[in-house]
Amino acid sequence: MIVSAFDLVLCLTLVWLAWHVLVSPDLFRAVVLFISFGLLMALAWVRLLAPDVALAEAAIGSGLTGALFLSALRRLTPGRRGERRVDRKEGGDDEGL
């Protein structure tokens, strides 16, 4: 019973995260949401009795992919100085989806 509640909450969170990765106006926020998505995927693998896949996902999916996206983000964001883009005090901008 409690186990299926865990499954349900985890799956809803995964879908919610995937949706917000794609619709959030700020690219940096999308990347951070994607990193947390990877972390929660590892929990899903554990629940599906696949600890080997969970091991690979924990190493590659959350660690390496997150670092890759974060270091590519700097190059792919507009503006002459990256920190003005990433470090805005107010909420996200509305430059397309």
């Binding site: 959030s24 949401l33 590892a42 270091s71 700097r74």
Partner: protein
């Protein structure tokens, strides 16, 4: 036993979900990154509780890898994304 430990893992999962709010609001980039760091620690705890609750000892190894690599994303963020100087790409284009 299973009910208790998976229930505690569920409580921690809810705490992660509430922490998502900081990623959504976070005024600065560092706030968002710190929330992701919280997820790393919470993920380790959830994995340990699940390993005890479901009786899968090997899941502790997954928690070990999580703990080992949880700093990687933050280090990449501080060193590559949130730096002061301009994009490195402009420099390289000048050389070309």
């Amino acid at each position: 036993m299973t009910t208790l430990y998976v229930g505690l893992a569920l409580v921690l999962l809810f705490s992660v979900i509430v922490g998502l709010l900081r990623i959504m609001w976070g005024p600065t980039a560092a706030d968002r990154m710190m929330a992701a760091q919280l997820f790393g620690t919470c993920g380790v705890a959830i994995l340990l509780l699940l390993s005890k609750g479901l009786g899968q000892l090997i899941v502790e190894d997954v928690a070990l890898v999580f703990a080992l690599l949880s700093a990687l994303a933050t280090v990449a963020f501080v060193r590559r994304t949130w730096t002061k100087e301009g994009p490195r790409q402009t420099k390289r284009l000048d050389h070309d």
